[in-house]
Each structure stands twice: as structure tokens, then as C-alpha cells.
């Protein structure tokens, strides 16, 4: 940490923040306007009164199935988040605190898989889904994401520091089974780290785009798929698209407002990749 800061520093930082925030603000402005003023110059810089009209149009837009997209994305993202956190803490605990043969090798295998761009395997993944009869089914965008190498690694690092060995030993002496130790001793201790993992998993799942586009159809979309649908119409309906983008961003904004500090903490601990 360095000392002394001139007004210039604040001005520069505020300018950077203004640039960060402006597109989000603009999202709100256009979503609350009507199409005929969006292209005006100078552009309308304050929100208008058409927000609810646009929302109505959005949820009734025929090809987009926007409401269904929101519900689908909520179900998928929440399921993925719970699953990733559960399996990551479970495996992370095993790697950090339990003794078993082949541990180091398996840990290195997990590190290696973190580097693999799984997205490049979508063609066979699609064939698997055809085989299972899962195309255009919601589970197709859930099941492939139920575990995360990154999550396991992160929870392993966290468990090393956050769970003292004596606590586990004491529970063992007490006759606790290993799973009971995980549930009553380890999981509570991992809670802060698991929270950050949950936040980022949720954001990642909510944003998933390429795979739903490949495996789902127009009538059963995720929210990002529905957004894309809005932007492929015959003419460009910006207020409609912006309303959709606003609604699709809202859950993430809520998460950010509630737990922004933890997210920053997570990134600065070097723990998080988005």
C-alpha cells in the first residue's frame, strides 16, 4: 500500500468507474424508452416511461419464450451451483485432509483437467445427448456442468487452511463416520470459501451460451438463448432487446449488490476465475 493520493487519482478512477457503469445505465435508459427516440442525437440520457410496456412486449414476444428462458436458467443455475459446491467441498476435503493411495496423482490429474477447454468437446457431447434423448431437455444443460475441477481445487486449498486436523481427530475419536465429519465439522468451516465458489458458479452457469445454443431449441431456451433469439429478428427492435438484456442481467446484479464484498475478496485471494 502506497501513501499520498492526489485529486487526479480520484478523477481518473471515477472516470474509469463511469465507463464501467455507463453501459449498464444505458441498458436501463433504452429499456425504458420507445424505439423512435433510441437513435436520436443527442441520445436520450435519462430513463423514460416505457419500461413496463417494453417488459410486457418482452414476455409476450412470440419467438423468444423469455419467461420460460428465465425459469429454465434459474432451475439450471441453482441446481448446478448446489451440485458443484457439494461435490467440490466433498472432494476438496478428501484431498486436503484424508489419506489415501494415489492422492497426489489424482490431484495432479485434476489440475490438468482445469486447463482443458471442455467447450471443444461439444460435438460428441451433442451425440451423447442425442443418444440419451436429452436434446431440447433442460437436463442437457445441467448434467454436464454438475462438477468442476476448478471447484475441487479451490476447496482443497481452502480446506487445508480452514479445517484444523485436531477437529477432525476429535470427531473421529468420538466415533463419527467420515461423512458425518464432513457434514458437521468440515462443511461449516468451509462456508466462506464455498460461498464464493457458489457465487461464481452461479454467474458462470447463468451466462452459459454456446452449449445451450447447440443442444436446446427455440421453444425451450435458457435466458441467454432467448436473448440471442431477440437479436435475430427481421428488424432491430432495440428497446425489446435491451429490456431482455436488463432482465437477464438483473439476477446477477442482485447477487453483486448482496455479496460484492465477498466476490472482491474471492478474486483478490487469487482464488477465483470467472
Amino acid at each position: 500500500m502506497r501513501k499520498s493520493s492526489s485529486p487526479l487519482v480520484y478523477v481518473t478512477l471515477l472516470a474509469a468507474i463511469a465507463l464501467s457503469a455507463f453501459p449498464l445505465y444505458w441498458l436501463f435508459v433504452v429499456a425504458s424508452r420507445s424505439n423512435d427516440v433510441v437513435g436520436d442525437w443527442p441520445p436520450p440520457l435519462v430513463p423514460g416511461g416505457n419500461l413496463f410496456d417494453n417488459m410486457n412486449r418482452l414476455f409476450e414476444a412470440e419467438n423468444a419464450h423469455f419467461l420460460k428462458g428465465m425459469v429454465n436458467s434459474a432451475i439450471a443455475s441453482l441446481t448446478i451451483t448446489v451440485s458443484v459446491v457439494f461435490f467440490s467441498t466433498l472432494a476438496g476435503f478428501a484431498f486436503a485432509k484424508l489419506r489415501f493411495r494415489g492422492k497426489n496423482f489424482l490431484l495432479i490429474a485434476i489440475l490438468g483437467t482445469m486447463m482443458v477447454p471442455v467447450q471443444m468437446g461439444i460435438i460428441p457431447l451433442y451425440m451423447i445427448m442425442v443418444e440419451f434423448g436429452w436434446t431440447n431437455q433442460l437436463q442437457a444443460v445441467i448434467v454436464p456442468f454438475l462438477v468442476s475441477a476448478f471447484g475441487v481445487f479451490l476447496m482443497r486449498q481452502y480446506a487445508e487452511r480452514a479445517v484444523p486436523d485436531e477437529l477432525i481427530e476429535a470427531a473421529r475419536v468420538d466415533g463419527c463416520s467420515t461423512f458425518r465429519i464432513y457434514w458437521t465439522v468440515v462443511l461449516p468451516a468451509l462456508r466462506p470459501g464455498a460461498g464464493v465458489l457458489a457465487l461464481f458458479t452461479f454467474m458462470g452457469a447463468w451466462n452459459e451460451f454456446l452449449w445451450p445454443l447447440a443442444v436446446l431449441e427455440q421453444d425451450n431456451p435458457t435466458v441467454q438463448f432467448a436473448l440471442n433469439q431477440l437479436s435475430t429478428g427481421y428488424y432491430t427492435d432495440y428497446t425489446l432487446m435491451f429490456s431482455g438484456a436488463l432482465v437477464a442481467t438483473l439476477p446477477l446484479l442482485v447477487v453483486f449488490v448482496i455479496s460484492g464484498r465477498q466476490i472482491i475478496g474471492g478474486i483478490m485471494e487469487g482464488a477465483v476465475k470467472a
Partner: protein, 321 residues
């Protein structure tokens, strides 16, 4: 992130009160639990990852060696798909586009992040608020970013052209040309990721001992000099991390250019493929033309390029002094 640990006195107290029950319960169950549980705990990850991660990636290589259409597997064709790929100008076009946008998106992003982190790395009021403000773009969903910036860069209705007009510059048809569409798409990527990278740099900067800067001050080194001679070398691991992760991200760029394209043929990245990326090319081949064999060859090429560039990046940044 506060490491709050809840001590559980009850567990400990009981432990002191009772003798270890392990012996009395007969060791078999307990031993089974001890030796089996670890594998049980890690098995879900390995099983699911094997089925939905590793197997598809490996199988992609097998598919790429076949004439494989939607209807099913055809003849084994060896490396023919790859040979076709090397003769396919559209593939090279997509590769050049991807690399061009990678450079345009990554370099300014990381430099800006460095500057912002350097500014944040001093005693400031409202530190948390400033950081939150910088990080705001990361919570915008990617497709939403695409939509907002598509409008901002619109030829007729966009505010960028409006501003250019004020400066007496003719409006630009951002989607029409390579350089202009690359620029617009790179701005989206920059906007979304700069703050995130700045926070990573900031975290690394905070562990640099202050004495280094004090000594440099005494020697009369300028702030800029200090940034390049002290700060950057000291945060090298963070730089390596951000360079590699932005590269891996950038090589798989898909959402932003697809939304930017708008309309039915968005997957080709404009009528002349001026901003089609490698991922879009793969998607087009596999899910629009239903040529799985060819699409898989593209996927493996992307994978190999990612590997290659990751190694090159690592070596380059490691040598950087």
C-alpha cells in the same frame, strides 16, 4: 474473505469424557469407512468429468478422422478432414480474426488493468466502493454486453458514430469491415474484463514490501519508472495468470461476435466472414452444416492452438524482466 472457524466445544468435551469408542465398535466398519470414504468422496467428480468432459474431448479426435455427418458415421478418412481444413480459406480467415481480436482485446485490457490497479494501490477513501465500481462489468451477462455494445456501435443509431460526427469524422459502418468489427468486439471484451484483471493485479501489488518503493523514492526514480522496474516484475505470477487466462478465453471467443452479427446468418460473422471466430466456424460446420467430422477437426485445431499459445505465453512472460 474471513476465515471464520466455528469451534465446536461439544465435540471436544465429549471426546475428553469418553474413551475412544473405536475399539468397542469393532474395527471393521470403521476401517472400511476410513479407507473407502476418500474414494467415495472424489468419485462423483471423476465419474462425471470422465463422461461429460474428457470422453467428449477425446472422442472429438476420433470423429475428426471420419466422414461423419448428422446421419451417422461414414468412412474412416484418416487425416483428410485436416487436409481439407488446411486448404480452407474460411478456416484461416477465422483463425486470423480470432488472433487479431485476441491481441486487440488482451493487450489494452491488461495495460489498462495495470494502470487502474496501480491507482487503486494507495490509501484511498471509499476503497470498497471504488473496487465494486471497477468490477461492475463482470456481472453483466455476456449476451447483454453484446446487445448493448451492438447498439452503441450501430451505424445509424449508435452513439460512437454520433461522437465521431461531433469531431468531424465520417460515420463508420462498424460491422462492414474487418478492422472496425474487430475493434467493436474487442471493446466489449475489454470492457467486461479490465476491472477483474485490475483486482488480480491489485491483490499481487499489495504484497510488495513498501521499503522497495521508499528506496526508489530516495534514488529519485519516477513513479512510472517504479511501476515498470518494481511493480511489474514483482507481480509476475499474476501477470502470467491473466495473460494465460485471457488467451484461453480469447481463443474461444463466441458470444460477443455472434450477438454483434445479429440476423439469421450471424454465425458466419458478417456477410464476408469479417468477424467469424474459430469457435463460430466450428459451430457453423457442426450445427448448421451438420458436418460433425469436419467440425471436430476444427475443434481439435482450436484445442492445439490453445495449448501452443499457452506454452508460448508462459515462456514469454516468464522471461520478461
Amino acid at each position: 474473505m474471513a476465515t471464520q472457524l466455528r469451534p465446536r466445544p461439544s465435540v471436544r468435551d465429549e471426546a475428553h469424557a469418553d474413551p475412544p469408542p473405536e475399539k468397542t465398535r469393532g474395527g471393521l466398519l470403521s476401517r472400511l469407512d476410513k479407507s473407502g470414504s476418500p474414494y467415495l468422496f472424489i468419485a462423483p467428480f471423476f465419474l462425471l468429468f470422465a463422461v461429460f468432459g474428457l470422453y467428449p474431448l477425446g472422442y472429438t479426435a476420433w470423429v475428426s478422422l471420419h466422414d461423419w455427418q448428422m446421419g451417422g458415421k461414414g468412412d474412416f478418412v484418416g487425416l483428410d478432414n485436416y487436409a481439407d481444413l488446411f486448404d480452407d480459406p474460411d478456416f484461416w480467415n477465422a483463425t486470423v480474426n480470432t488472433l487479431g481480436m485476441l491481441v486487440l482485446a488482451t493487450l489494452p485490457q491488461l495495460l489498462l488493468a495495470l494502470v487502474i490497479a496501480n491507482l487503486l494501490n494507495q490509501k484511498l477513501r471509499h476503497m470498497t466502493l471504488l473496487r465494486l465500481g471497477i468490477l461492475l462489468p463482470i456481472v453483466t451477462s455476456v449476451a447483454a454486453v453484446g446487445i448493448v455494445f451492438s447498439q452503441i456501435f450501430d451505424r445509424d443509431a449508435g452513439m460512437v458514430n454520433g461522437l465521431l460526427d461531433l469531431m468531424g469524422i465520417d460515420p463508420v459502418d462498424w460491422r462492414a469491415d474487418k478492422w472496425s468489427s474487430w475493434l467493436a468486439i474487442s471493446v466489449m471484451v475489454d470492457w467486461r474484463w479490465t476491472g477483474y484483471n485490475a483486482l488480480i493485479y491489485l491483490a499481487a501489488m499489495q504484497s510488495i514490501p513498501r521499503e522497495l518503493y521508499e528506496a526508489a523514492d530516495l534514488d529519485g526514480a519516477s513513479r512510472r519508472r517504479q511501476l515498470w522496474s518494481i511493480t511489474v516484475p514483482m507481480i509476475r505470477p499474476a501477470v502470467i495468470f491473466t495473460v494465460i487466462s485471457s488467451t484461453i478465453h480469447g481463443l474461444q471467443l463466441f458470444t460477443e461476435p455472434l450477438i454483434f452479427g445479429q440476423g439469421g446468418d450471424a454465425i458466419t460473422g458478417g456477410s464476408l466472414r469479417q468477424f467469424q471466430t474459430m469457435s463460430m466456424f466450428m459451430f457453423e460446420k457442426a450445427f448448421k452444416n451438420f458436418d460433425y467430422g469436419y467440425g471436430s477437426a476444427v475443434a481439435w485445431m482450436i484445442f492445439l492452438i490453445i495449448l501452443l499459445l499457452t506454452v508460448v505465453n508462459y515462456l514469454l512472460v516468464r522471461r520478461m524482466k
